[in-house]
Amino acid sequence: MRLIGVDVGGTFTDVVFFDAETNTTLTHKTPTTPQNPSLGVMNGINELCRRFSIDRKTINHIYHGTTTATNTMLEHDGAECGMITNEGYRDIIHIGRHQRPQHFSIQQEIPWQDRPLVKRRWRKTVAHRITPPSGEVLTPLDEDGVRAIAAHFKENNIRSIAICFLFAFLDPSHEHRARDLVLEVYPDAFVTCSSDVSPQFREFERFTTTAINAFIGPKVRDYVTMLEDSIAKEGYGADLHIMGSNGGLATSSMVAERPVLTILSGPAAGVMGGAWSGGQSGRHSLITFDVGGTSADIGIIQNGQFAEASPRDTWIAGFPLMVPMIDIHTIGAGGGSIAFKDKGGAFKVGPRSAGARPGPACYGFGGDLPTVTDANLVLGRLDPDNFLGGEMKLDLAASTKVIDKLASELGIERHACAEGITTIVNSAMANAIRSRTVQRGLDPREFSLMAFGGGGPLQACEVAALLAIPEVIVPPHPGITSAIGLLTTDIKYDAIRTAFQVSGQVDHSRVETMFNEMESQLAHQFDADNIPQENVRFMRYADIRYVGQGYELRVKIDSDRFDTAAEQALFSQFEDQHQTEYGRSFPDSPKEIVNVRVSGVGLSTKLEKQDKPEADQKDHALLKTTECVFRVGAELITAPTNIYDRSKMPAGSEWEGPAIILQQDTTTVVRPGDRFRIDDNGNMLISISI
């Protein structure tokens, strides 16, 4: 089995090749082609095969992390869409939850009003209404009405159409009937039904999710189709899979139909890659810490499993989104984040970023504002001659100039200013991690901080110290963690149904039927993907709350038949989770199963292990010794600091901070008092002194 993983980043497209028979891993980098990312993807794959003389026909699978869906939303550059919804409810996606995004603003924008996914003129209503609890038909679907709307859309070339009916999660048949009618009239239409994309209650969020799918659909479908064609045309024997936001791969045809599943494709692959690398060293409780130029992505791994986001907390470009996603917390803090003194005189860093262009002052592309990268350079933590493996020279004088200017505005000394920038940005990152751990009843001291991306290893030790996290891990190739993550995941599909079942009155056979239906639906999908049944696993979950609460907790169901015993175990597990998350539980209160879910996993061939470092003796690793500035307690000190070449550090070797470790794609900073070693799996394990 031969696999290729391709991840498209802002600057580079990373390619990783894995041969399961010989257990060989090879990597390659090529510039990203922002206009048409598929060119960069093909360049990367072609170049890798040429460089290592790999026969294109022998590749079995290509796994891909794409930013097409995300960028289409961020740039608001999707299709002109239509919507068919119930009479009387034309403006659900316009009114939303009638809440303004900002409390204290008169001039703010409301994304769903100022840049609607479906313009009001294309939101059409038909007579139709069903009611809870069982989907009883109050008003039958006006089929002629649907045909007339479809004809109108066809006439106006509105090809991407969302069908959004109230309570469709109780009975999808009416939406499906409307879809069939539309396709009869307009066979070329790209139709999305709300009950297919997200069959759960909360109409604004579900309709918006459906509209997002319609909005990005044609573009993502075209992208995937084009890529698939190129792969075939250029002689690869491989099929294409795309990374989904749920931490699993999906077939290209699935993604072409439900592109909304790929909104977090790239970051999800990063979390998976981080989890896998940590697992290599036997670490299964991890906080993944992926820092780039403009943002930091944080994910939580417990028992080797990632956390899933609450559907109430998932957003893209200001729009709510209700699909299963890895819980990735992104904050606007990275190497390019700009430091400044604000109008009230406060010392602030970010969220504005200098990005890659003009970038930090030290890049010499005309940036004249002090950034986190400039601060690190002034503190001696970056080597001006060895940035990105020496591909780029950094201008220390330029950094010093912009830092000095800010320092004099703030009335503090140069190094205090530079160190202040890193401390402020580290605190912001630590607060972000706190919000995903301490605030959820998790103790960060029981985790390792898995640092990757260009900037993660630079900040990780100080961030870990702020949270009393005892260990930082830096994988062997921190810059390509997302591409590696693609080769460490399975095919994964999710199904969900809203159930509304209250404890004491649970209809076990109805719930069991729902589970069975979802499992057979997913089994059918796996079958269509040619995944043999023996490689398929199903996991059942339920979203539960106390009756009256508005937020649910997701609870895993361990038994494979839903009966009284399973119900009791489920509710008892819910009480425990409620206690952990909120510090309280209310055992006497009635509980409600809001949604039932099934995750189906189709096991696939994966990367096996990281290579053992090649270096065999310690002596050649030291490059030089230099003066660096660190904070120790409340004081700033300068300390002689060794600079090492990571590629020359052998497995099993042990070292002491302060130290700076250089490698091709990142720089790791180790504080005075911290100790570190390289293990047999190639990970650098840093013990944080607290």
């Binding site: 403006d91 303004r100 603003s105 001039q107 924008e109 609460q549 309280r584 700033l636």
Partner: protein, 588 residues
């Protein structure tokens, strides 16, 4: 190794920034937990709650960002009053205390917004308070629910009053108080469950506050807090300084009780005097209090918050200035003068429970006064809100459901008004139709924009919403609202918007028009409660509106071709602008 840092005389900007971020984070965590743990939809879906930390004298240090501004803002006022009452009674704070407070003449926003407050101790020293407020579904007033009690004749008719009561005393639960509470409110399970959630959130806040002090020391935390308040104060002073010195005045009117000639058409008057970096807000000219109807507004907790929030939203608009910490420093440069005995400074025991929409009208009046001074930073007049309590009896227990009906924003210098949103000092969320119908004997039969009603202008006013609720079982409702008589004001040549309406459509099709205040009113199966929200005022001369923007509005059926012609002088035929006819009409 060389030491580069000199020992600081005051707190260094880096430590200050770190501690301030941590304080904010604590308030957010409190809000997150309260919102997710609470039972009633008014807290968890509408987000009508607040959390905050204060110092030992009740100065606000940080507040949650999720909650509605009218809830977090008043917490310092609650705390300061509790401190005062305790000192008058000779009672002291002890570790393990939890204090309940809802006295509208003692800092509370109104009776249903009950605060639970935990004093925070470090090394036996009182260092601050961790507080939460939340709107409770029922506080034992004369009719079900805690809104629309528009016929209360004094504060005693508004329900239970808790004046600085220890519901936990040194860690021991005061069972008698909890029992009295349970016996005297409808839906006690919900109310007590929400209060338990509030206590839990306060305790989390207190624990985190102590952790912070342990990490950085009490002095650093106090210094950082002081620096944070000074910082917010500097920003506000700077913003006031940018406003030209002068005296700015505005008056608007509230409906009051439209079926009662003695209690209707009541003026709210605001005079703002800017002198350098200070501002005086004077409400002289506001109507006298209505001594026996609850539309009076508590000075501390409603009036002050309404004024402060409007000023900061206009002068320090977060869309332009970014997030600015909400704390007591922000209000230092603003002085209030409110004559005693007027609607905005009532005398005990005048009732106040329905002060929500008058308070929001006051916010609109403050914005109208500021409009003269900073015309590009305001919106034209907003559409005001309504709060409805729906209720019914199932066997021997009540169900109560509260909904806030949205308003709209007037046109703005660069943008049209926001359609169908909560306005100014309120920012709650509606309840999903699919949630309501799955859990209550009600059906939402319509929820759409109110077409062709916005105030015309260079930028148009926002549209209100039409929302209809049908009763599937016998029940009742009560209403407190505003905006049936006075249309939202147009600005700089923009046209006024349109007033709101309310109808009860009976099962037999007969319709009954209701005023903006309806005391508890019973309903039969099939009755539909139909609310038509207000549409807001236009901004600037409609003749200056780009015909292409008008075409877009017509295509989206937000305005009709007839309105385009009448209000804007733009002729649209068959989905296209008739240039010739438009030129003629616009030059006429």
């Amino acid at each position: 190794m060389t030491n580069l840092s000199s020992s600081p005389t005051s707190i260094d900007p880096v430590t200050a920034s770190v501690i301030q971020g941590a304080l904010q984070n604590i308030a957010i965590e409190m809000g997150y937990k309260l919102m997710r743990m609470s039972y009633s939809s008014i807290i968890r879906e509408s987000e009508d709650f607040g959390t905050a930390l204060t110092d030992a004298t009740g100065n606000q240090l940080a507040e949650s960002v999720q909650s509605t501004p009218l809830q977090s803002g008043p917490i310092p006022g609650y705390v300061q009053n509790v401190i005062k009452v305790f000192s008058e009674r000779g009672v002291s704070f002890k570790p393990g205390d939890v204090i309940m407070h809802n006295d509208p003449y003692g800092g509370a926003s109104h009776g249903p917004d009950i605060a639970l407050i935990v004093p925070v101790f470090y090394d036996d020293q009182l260092i601050g308070f961790s507080g939460t407020t939340a709107h409770h579904l029922d506080v034992g007033a004369l009719s079900p629910g805690s809104c629309g009690i528009v016929d209360a004749i004094d504060v005693y008719a508004e329900g239970l009053q808790f004046k600085a009561i220890k519901v936990y005393d040194g860690g021991v639960r005061n069972e008698a108080v909890w029992q009295i509470l349970k016996d005297n409110v409808r839906a006690p399970g919900m109310v007590v469950g929400d209060m338990e959630a509030q206590v839990a959130a306060c305790q989390i806040g207190a624990d985190r506050f102590i952790d912070l002090v342990e990490r950085y020391g009490l002095k650093a935390v106090n210094d950082a807090s002081e620096a944070l308040m000074d910082y917010s104060e500097r920003l506000m002073r700077q913003a006031i300084k940018d406003v030209p010195d002068g005296v700015y005045h505005a008056t608007t009117c509230i409906d009051g009780f439209l079926d009662d000639p003695d209690r209707r058409d009541l003026p709210l008057a605001v005079t703002i005097t800017i002198t350098g970096d200070e501002m005086l807000v004077d409400l002289t000219g506001t109507a006298p209090q209505v001594s026996d109807r609850p539309i009076n507004m508590p000075l501390v907790g409603t009036v002050d918050i309404s004024i402060w929030l409007t000023i900061r939203s206009v002068l320090l608009d977060s869309d332009i200035y970014g997030y600015i910490p909400q704390n007591s420093g922000l209000t230092r440069p603003i002085k209030l003068h409110v004559p005693r005995g007027c609607l905005a400074n009532p005398i005990f025991p005048a009732p106040v429970i329905a002060r929500f929409t008058p308070g929001n009208q006051l916010a609109d009046t403050v914005m109208k006064a500021l409009a003269e001074a900073v015309p590009e930073q305001v919106s034209a007049g907003i559409g005001n809100l309504k709060v409805i309590a729906f209720s019914g009896l199932k066997e021997e227990s009540h169900w109560v459901h509260m909904e806030i009906f949205e308003g709209s924003y007037g046109g703005r210098f660069n943008r049209n008004g926001m359609d169908a949103v909560d306005t100014l000092y309120a920012n709650t969320r509606n309840n999903p139709i699919e949630d309501i119908e799955s859990h209550l004997p009600m059906r939402v039969t319509r929820y759409e924009l109110r077409e062709d009603t916005s105030g015309a202008g260079r930028t148009r006013g926002g549209l209100g919403a039409c929302r209809a609720f049908q009763f599937l079982e016998p029940g009742g409702f009560s209403v407190e609202g505003e905006g049936h008589r006075f249309a939202p004001w147009g600005f700089r040549g923009g046209k006024d918007g349109q007033t709101a309406e309310l109808h009860l459509i009976h099962a037999d099709g007969k319709s009954e028009a209701l005023t903006s205040k309806v005391p508890y009113h019973t309903t039969e199966i099939g009755d539909t409660f139909f609310a038509i929200g207000p549409s807001a005022g236009g901004y600037g001369d409609p003749a200056e509106r780009d015909p292409n923007d008008i075409l877009e509005d017509v295509l989206d059926e937000l305005i009709s071709p007839e309105s385009a012609e009448r209000d804007y002088g733009v002729v649209i035929r068959n989905g296209k602008i008739d240039d010739e006819a438009t030129r003629k009409l616009r030059s006429a």
